[in-house]
Symmetry: C2
Subunit: 146 residues, 2 copies
């Protein structure tokens, strides 16, 4: 559903949302999420450029959320890494597909799209941390070990 990159971004944002005021190093995030560090670094940098994260260089640097988790919809985190997200594309790949010039699947598919869009627009980071509180930090195995 999400690209690998968008999934990393979302998981990192979720991690940061648990302690919104703390600045976390990329190394810590990468380890906690079992995600390649240099790759994550670039991904987080991209989120910083969109204004969702604040990056600090130098000693004691790292990333943190720029706003409270309840004000950040998933949409904003995922959007930079998906060409689609809000104005989702035509199921049959037509360049233009609207209510006026619909493809064969338009009407039925529209409902599905709207459900998906609503999820990303109306779910905030905070909504997900609360859900997470039910299970305290599921164990993550390191990338290569027994």
């Amino acid at each position: 559903m999400l690209s690998q990159t968008a999934e990393y971004a979302l998981r990192a944002a979720l991690y940061l949302a648990e302690e919104p005021d703390r600045t976390a190093r990329v190394g810590e995030l990468a380890e906690a999420l079992s995600v390649p560090q240099n790759y994550l670094s670039k991904t987080l940098h991209q989120l910083a450029r969109t204004g969702i994260l604040v990056s600090t260089r130098g000693k004691h640097g790292g990333f943190r959320l720029s706003r409270p988790p309840e004000t950040i919809p998933l949409f904003e985190i995922v959007a930079p890494f998906e060409r689609i997200t809000d104005q989702r594309q035509c199921l049959l790949g037509r360049p233009v597909c609207s209510d006026i010039t619909p493809c064969a699947a338009h009407d039925r598919w529209k409902t599905v799209k709207e459900t998906t869009n609503a999820f990303f627009r109306e779910t905030s980071l905070k909504d997900l941390i609360h859900a997470n509180a039910r299970k305290p930090a599921p164990p993550r195995r390191p990338r290569a070990s027994a």
Copy 2:
């Protein structure tokens, strides 16, 4: 949403569904859909192996649907080309994510998944040709021309 390959498959199936008893050549399909012929050939062959299409070799050969369009849900056409489709994956990429061991997004995302799954399972090819009848064959431009 769909991979390019799955989209080709769906469009081809839709085309065949308009005249379910006629056998159409790959060349005709490829031209009608503006899709690379050799690639489509392999894709259709794959659908034939799953039993959705019947392929005939030699002169007067081609492809046709193996069953009436109203008995073929979109799911069956798309499934061979998407690793996901029915048991859609965890939004956060966890290898296991169920009602018992949910990820942070599980409950909210589940609704979205179910809407999508219902669409693919409950919409048949016939449902889409009827919708299409509203617009008679939208013009498709050839791949390279003025």
